[in-house]
Amino acid sequence: MGRIKSKHNNRNFHFMVLAMGLLLLAAALLVMQPAPAEADEGTVNVGIMAPLSGPGAPWGIATARVLELQFKQINDAGGVKVGNKVYKLKWYKEDDKYMGSAAAQAAARLIHDLDCKVIFGTNGSSPVLAMHPITTDNKVPVFCNSFADDAVSPERKYNFRTSMTSHQYAPVVWKYAKGRWPEIKRVAAIGQNDATGKEETNHIKLACEPLGIAVDIELFEPGQKEFYPLLTRVLAKKPDAMDPTCCALGSASLIMKQARELGFKGKFISSVFLDPTLNGPIAGFDNIEGSLTVTWDLANGSPGERAFYKMWCDNWNPKEFNVSPTIFYTGAEIWLEAIQKVGDIDADKVRNLIESGHMFNTTIYGKVKFSGKDYYGVDHQLITPVVISEVKDKKLVEIWRGK
């Protein structure tokens, strides 16, 4: 290493520098060669951003599958008519790896290099917050799913959330639960120790305290599988009910299984997501029987929901179904309806339409609109119907539907 005085090595050094030069040159050539992918006449570029690798991959891959099919179907049907022009969609898929830095880089590619006019994605708070400076500066609408309150705010001018969060769900489900079981006095909210889990458990606390229910929040490191120590601590406080769902599906299932093993007899009430077909195999069907949740059975839902579920089952393994695609599918539906309505793909016009409280008709949920001004300061939160279901005989049974 660095035997600089030696003649022989001086040459090596020499060649090393040359090698680096060549590499950089190659890189530079690579960079300069392709002109930015200007959209062809008659096509509009759209970006799909999803965690295609890493811990969020199950959601991301499912999302990408559905969106690609959705765009293909639209193109096959002739495209979208915007104003008096008909556009075909050209989509680009990017991997945010469920990481902020990767999401920012991916957004830069979609926007600067591929000239995408809209981004559908992504899951997770950190990626959505990290890509905000790029998307907002370049006026690209983002239809996202992030449970962080911060993802929707006045300065994030073009961020729209097409999923309801525990902030909307928790008050409804806990009010219902308290009405039905007034004996619930103490609740344990268990969540993953990341931005999402922290926000969700906090939402539960905010929803429960006005109802006279004490909330113990317990957080754990993502990826943990052994919850006996945590549950021993939680159960010592003798909670009457538990919301274990502010975390990944597998973790939530394990918490429910292990809580029952440790003798927990109370109800599981979920303000986030609980589906016996998905949670059941890991959690044990007996363990989650009688739980209350805001999830509902798409297969028995509204006509749009039924059609959506059928589309998944026709193309892919029903076992791999999760809710993530519905969120972005809805986002795409809304954006497409909006650009057709305003007759332009301009982000400001789309934003104005959404903020005007326009009712969107074509979504899988039926008629929906954006709201949220009183809490987030801006109407960028999609409001979908809240449904409360109960787990009965290993199935979700709808017991209450809001308007």
């Binding site: 490191e221 990826g223 120590p229 299932s253 998905l278």
Partner: protein, 290 residues
């Protein structure tokens, strides 16, 4: 802390420690004998889990048969990787570390692509179902069985290393590969054997914990990391050290979680590791070379 909580924490600690020891044991053998830094060790644990899921849950094989089959296959895969990739890099940390990182990425992505997107449940075999109650504390039968098997494997491994010819050869190679090969021991064969045992132990842990937890492509990440913490805390190459360190970490997780919560227990594990290393730079029972 009530008696019930104490007993429960005790059981929790032993279980989390036991599984950790099982995984770390394989790693300490590989690292101790071949001086190969295998960051992909957790992936053998993951493959073991997928093995039991594939044979037992998907294809309805008998649990024990499925376990043996899956463990053997992972062991053979381990030997193949050792022969094909690690062999030139014994005693050489950097390349082996990089290669193992590559293996980790490939395995994880490949399982994700081939076995789909959901976490797979492995049902508990009928015979292992049910709970046992000890002075108010709960212990499921499946966990009890895991503790028993872990204990048996630890003792078995200890006997194997201390008293059998192959075990003696392993220790000799670990101390001084050059001298061992001069005495006619085949370093190649012993390394392969070590890697086989290492991957088998990790895969066994994966199989046994499959029904308790679930099986997913990223399940190896956390145990793989903690296994390194365990062996470094205990001293690389020392089986007793690994057992002690595994129990220490198990107890920190089991008892530390009660007053502080599990995330602070994780902080405590790392703090204990750092403090131990400051005072004993070669781990608790590790000894300096030379």
């Amino acid at each position: 802390m009530t008696l019930q909580m104490f007993v429960q924490s005790l059981i929790n600690s032993i279980l989390s420690g036991g599984v950790l020891i099982l995984i770390a044991m394989g790693l300490t053998i590989i690292l101790g004998i071949m001086k190969v830094v295998n960051f992909a060790h957790g992936e053998f644990y993951m493959l073991g889990g997928f093995g039991i899921w594939w044979f037992f849950a998907e294809h309805g094989l008998n649990f024990v048969l499925a376990l043996i089959l899956s463990v053997t296959l992972v062991g053979i895969l381990g030997v193949a990787i050792e022969r094909g990739l690690f062999k030139p890099f014994r005693e050489n940390a950097f390349p082996s570390l990089i290669i193992s990182c590559g293996i980790l990425l490939v395995f994880r992505a490949a399982t994700q692509l081939s076995f789909g997107l959901v976490d797979h449940a492995v049902p508990t075999p009928e015979a292992f179902k049910g709970m046992i109650q000890v002075s108010g504390a709960f212990l499921s039968k499946e966990r009890l069985i895991v503790i028993c098997i872990t204990l048996a494997l630890i003792i078995g491994l200890y006997v194997f290393i201390k008293f059998t010819k192959a075990g003696l050869a392993m220790r000799a190679v670990s101390d001084n590969p050059a001298a061992a090969s001069l005495q006619g021991m085949s370093v190649d064969r012993i390394s392969s054997l070590a890697f086989f045992i290492g991957s088998v132990l990790a895969a066994t842990a994966g199989c046994l914990t499959g029904p308790i937890f679930y099986v997913s492509p990223t399940m190896g990440a956390e145990p793989g990391l903690m296994a390194f913490v365990v062996i470094v805390l205990g001293g690389i190459g020392s089986i007793t050290g690994t057992v002690i360190a595994g129990l220490i970490i198990g107890f920190i997780e089991g008892f530390g979680a009660i007053p502080f919560g599990t995330n602070y227990a994780t902080v405590m594990v790392y703090v204990v590791l750092l403090i131990t290393l400051i005072f004993k730079p070669m781990g608790l029972l590790g000894h300096a070379e030379k």
